[in-house]
Amino acid sequence: MTKELQTYRNADLAKSLLRQIEKEVSRPLRIMEVCGGHTMAIHKYGINNLLPDDIQLISGPGCPVCVTPVAYMDILLQIAMQPDVIIASYGDLMRVPGNLGNLEAVRAKGADVRLVISPLDALKKAKENPGKKVVFPAIGFETTAPGTAVALLKAREMDVDNFFVLASHRTMPEAMQKLASGKINIDGFIGPGHVSCITGSDVYGFLASKYGIPVVISGFEPIDLLMSLLMILKQARLSKAVVENQYDRAVKPAGNVQAQKIMYSVFESCDAEWRGLGKINGSGLEIRESFGKWNALQHFKTSPVASNEDKRCICGKILTGLKDPGQCPLFGAQCTPEQPVGACMVSHEGTCNAWYRFKFMSNGNNTSTSRQRRKINA
């Protein structure tokens, strides 16, 4: 954190914002943060238990790990077990379950799985290991996809023929459209800050105009989130629904046009499956035919794996705010953080995962959240 931005973690400012929030609450409201990073910040700073009881925060589908379909993991795991393959993966994917286990499990069986924090690191590994095929599982939203595109452009420029991308990028506005158009119980969206750096804030206009849901694009510091909540509450009180941009220090109305150009020079839109939400039209990015040489799907042979997904899992309903984890028959029994069944249990920030940890810590009753609530200025 740079010195200039340290103020965005200031306790006094937070108290001041919380006082304003208390005054602004006019009725019970359910607000969804679609971005996993916001969920994480909310838990990290304990924002959820500082808010008035009338405000309920719901975690949306904005965690790439959570929404990565089982079928994708099965393809990846099959590739990982092929000879002379190095999987260069973000740490996020290591424990995501497929029908065939997860990356940690195949590594234990002898697969060469290495961690990277950038697609350019994966490309570098390909150049350093000419006798191997380096496969980069590319997950993430608009924030992440342009970087993958740069790596593919570099691979073409440098004629690297042992670098492959297994793409599973997703785009956010389409998912939010699907959420908003369905049966939903949401009074406001906290918009994804870093996705919006690329897409811009204008793309969410339809949520406000067509579906009447307020949207505030937010930064990730605690002060950012409290400001954004306050902005949503103000809209709710005035019965307004517009797109506001709290994160305008980095998000422009039209976004990062250069990054968009690069992204779409390598990828094109496709329909895509989201774990928990099903198929969403135009919500995926697939590698263009002109980059087929580096597309892992074209290079490696894999076969479909019989799904053992448990139909009783209600992640889809949890992600849309229609149900609570407590209403799932698998929750806490077959589905735990160590052995996750559904998307919401996979990531530490998933709704079910957070619920489970609270339940576990408070010996089986789930009242600790409210017991721990403290009014700042009671």
Binding site: M1, R19, G36, P119, L120, Q246, A250
Partner: protein, 75 residues
């Protein structure tokens, strides 16, 4: 979602740059942003600068809160 941290550009070499944050230094790609200059603040995600940060705007936002709160206090 996407982890990203603010860093400051200290050196530029083609589409690569050295960015720093609190004693931490790393090479980042600036291929995704235009007109980046030394001392600019950028958001870094997976080794890429994805957007510039307007620090002045960030400070303005903070000042708006302080004023807004003192108004409510007066009421």
């Amino acid at each position: 979602m996407c982890l990203s941290i603010p860093m400051q550009i200290k050196k530029i070499d083609g589409d690569l740059a050295i960015a720093v944050s609190n004693g931490l230094k790393m090479q980042v790609s600036i291929a995704l942003i235009e007109n980046v200059t030394l001392e600019d603040y950028v958001l870094v995600h997976t080794g890429f600068a994805i957007e510039k940060i307007d620090i002045e705007r960030a400070m303005e936002m903070i000042e708006n809160i302080s004023t807004a709160d003192s108004d409510t206090e007066k009421l």
